[in-house]
Amino acid sequence: MHLSDFQLFVLITIIKIAVVLVITLTAVAYTVLLERKVIGRIQNRWGPSRVGPFGLLQPLADGIKLFLKEDLMPMSVERPLFVAAPVIALACALVSVAVVPFGATFKIQGVDIFQVSNVNIGLLVILGITSIGVYGIALSGWSSNNKYSLMGSLRASSQVISYELALGLSLVGVVLRAGSLNLRDIVNSQIGHGFLSWNFFGGLQFVGFFIYIMAAYAETNRAPFDLPEAESELVAGYHTEYSSMKFAMFFMAEYANMLTVSCVATLLFFGGASSPFEGWLPAFGPAWLQAVLPIFWFVAKVFAFLFLYIWVRATLPRFRYDQLMSFGWKFLLPLAMANILATSLIMALRS
Amino acid sequence: MSSALLSILPEVVLTVTGVLIMLIDPFFAPTASKKALGWLAVLGTLGAAGATLLQLRSHQILVTFSGSIQMDTFSVFFHLLIASIVLLTLLVSLDYFKPGVTSHSGEYFALVLFGSVGMMLMTCSVELLMVFIGLEISSISTYILAGYRKGQATASESSLKYFLLGSFATAFFLYGIALAFGATGTTSLTGIASGLSITAFPTMAFLALAMMLVGLGFKVSAAPFHVWTPDVYQGAPAPVVGLMSTAPKAAVFAVLLRITATTYSSELLHARWVLLIGIIAVLSMTIGNLGALLQKDAKRMLAYSSIAHAGYLMVAYTALPADSIAAAAFYTAGYAAMNVGAFAVISQLGGYDEPLRTIDDYRGLAQKHPVLAAALAFFLLSLVGIPFTGGFFGKFYVFNAAIGAGHVWLAVLGLLNSGVACFYYLRLLTALYSRQLGEEGGEFEGSSPAAVIAIAGAVLATLLLGVLPGKVLGLAQRGATVQVSRNR
């Protein structure tokens, strides 16, 4: 059977989507396990260890449990929105993975294999989708018709909106250096002298990185910025009324977002799928190894960031709400602007 | 000085002052008297006026910022006008806020300055993008200023109505720009002017102009787009009404003049445009005056009067090119002087809480405040169009231009209208000089010296524009020649 270019393209793309989706969901599930394990160790306990070897099957058990639980629907909720909210949240969290290049450029039949879609405004797509994700949070709280949920979602949305600014601005330095919004181009701009040409080191974007990482933690409503679900104040925040699969979707969305954040951090500041010794060590091994090795580096970096996430959660206390807001507006935002200014000045001087 | 800087020097001065005010503001206690900031704003405005004079002295036409700004006599004329209006408004509002009670009085001055930056930019832009941004700056700041007395139940309502209808108008204006862009492939007014005569889409071009007219008509409260005016003027603080009934309108009229100038290249388009404007002018005059006849609230009445005046002004647009521009520009100036003055007096008589509402409340005020009443009477007479006032000469000049272009019917309708108009102005005037006193006496806090200066300035301006209009007229006519020669 002979496939036309277009048909081939559609086919490969569908396969890519399926594979990436499965991998992401699995990764999400195991991030949960990782978190429980790491926090357990940090708190001097074991963490889940009963299901499967080293508790490795725990995510499966959790999934089955959540799936089989009764799906409660409180009486006074706004039904359509109540149902739509977790879907929006999860969908937005998963879609952004689509533009992430998780390997080196490797084409089969003219189609890039290690990236679902190479969009020329990839970074903007990620930002856009992240900003859409707020709806999931906002609507869940509002449609629950519960004051704690509402408070949680109000907090979450204002937090997300506020930190989105700092987040976006922190990336401008990187974009300035790369001169493109295409993620692949950004990664390629950090290749040459191993890890020294990564934006974090060579690009002097460490300030940008720190702003990014802090803003991103707030964006994902993770500790120390997990005010929206501050259980001591708001029960469980915006997903108080959710149960079963709907709750699971929020849960997955949160971890998928963590994953995205880590991917973006890797791509923008740490050279993406490039090895830290790129340009210093000659390419070695067969072609398949050359194709797969970058994926290894990518996964390793992402893993490091996920670990950082968990580490931070286990060690840092929660902010107060007004502290959170003033931190974002009065510290991160000006700092991000200063970073842009400094970066552009340096670039202007260099050229 | 670089020509680019020179061409936007007044705006720069105002912006810098505004930012400065915002920077200094936090050093005051929230409810402290922010009079010092007010004086700073006054200084800034004077600086802007000085910068404008500098522009005038350079005697040249500067096109800067890749053709988006055009500094010429026309823009300088409106710059000066806006600066004067803002100056008077600032002086009137210096003592308007009660220290210790009202907060955010520092931001008020900054907003006024920023708003005037927008207005000024509108008058010197020949790029619709710039015009749009200027329009929005001025609109947004006036939306805010309209709702400034948060304690009053009517303030937010006034602000809301202004906002909703203003944004609605913006959408139309934008659609007009989009269609103009579609018809000519450019958003620069000079480009549109040359494109309109050769466009392949004549209907679309006309529709574009009509849509822009709708949008701008809203902003200048021309009928039938006037519905917001009475409510907004009634609820907004009096000094702000003085500002927003003149300065943004002046700016919009300037834009409208530049848009009118684009139609000169096409005979057919110009004829249609004139017809459209003529209809709107007649509607505005009639609806404004008839509406005003029915009002009991003084500010509301003046709101309808401003609709009518927008109508008179639009009559000018139907005249021959050079005449129409000069006449409209001059009328704007005359109208600004008297209207700002009238609202300055009203704000002085009423103070922050404005207890004087209905016309009956104004009864016998001439006995208590003879000078203020005389000033108000003078402004009212100017609004009526009694000779030797700016209002009269403006009207005279406008109708002269219209008749010069052969639109005698417009002049007849317009002047009959002004005859009807004198009825309601005189109602307020006779109330002022009535022997009985109104019931709502209103505690009079004593007029502030700054406001008295402002009122005196407005009286002087109104008088000078009526008696010795030569200088202003000359400027307006020079501005007109610039426009006509560039767009032919």
Binding site: - | I144, A153, S159, L164, F168, G182, T187
Partner: protein, 100 residues
């Protein structure tokens, strides 16, 4: 290959729906929302024309419209909040203290 005029008509539909909503709706927030719809329709028109003329000016105009819309939204919603604080209603028919 879709004729540009299709896009323009689509924009016209959206614009008219915006006008209809503006006139019919009674909740101030919804009225404001319909203004945003109108602005979006205008943006589509701009972009369609920008495509037609192959000029970027139209696209840049849209960019500025977006910025302005954002600023307008901030102010507009602040006004609405201020209104709600003083009047406890969002229905335009009940916002009627000002009349002659």
């Amino acid at each position: 290959m879709v004729p540009i005029s299709y896009y323009l008509v689509l924009a016209a539909i959206l614009f008219s729906l915006g006008i209809a909503a503006y006139l019919v709706k009674r909740n101030v927030i919804t009225i404001f929302i319909s203004i945003e719809l109108m602005l979006n329709a205008v943006n589509l028109t701009f972009i369609a024309f920008a495509h037609q003329w192959n000029k970027l000016n139209g696209q840049i105009f849209v960019f500025f419209v977006m910025v302005v819309a954002a600023a307008e939204a901030a102010v507009g919603l602040a006004i609405i909040i201020a209104l709600f604080r003083s009047r406890q209603t969002l229905n335009v028919d009940q916002v009627n203290l000002l009349k002659g």
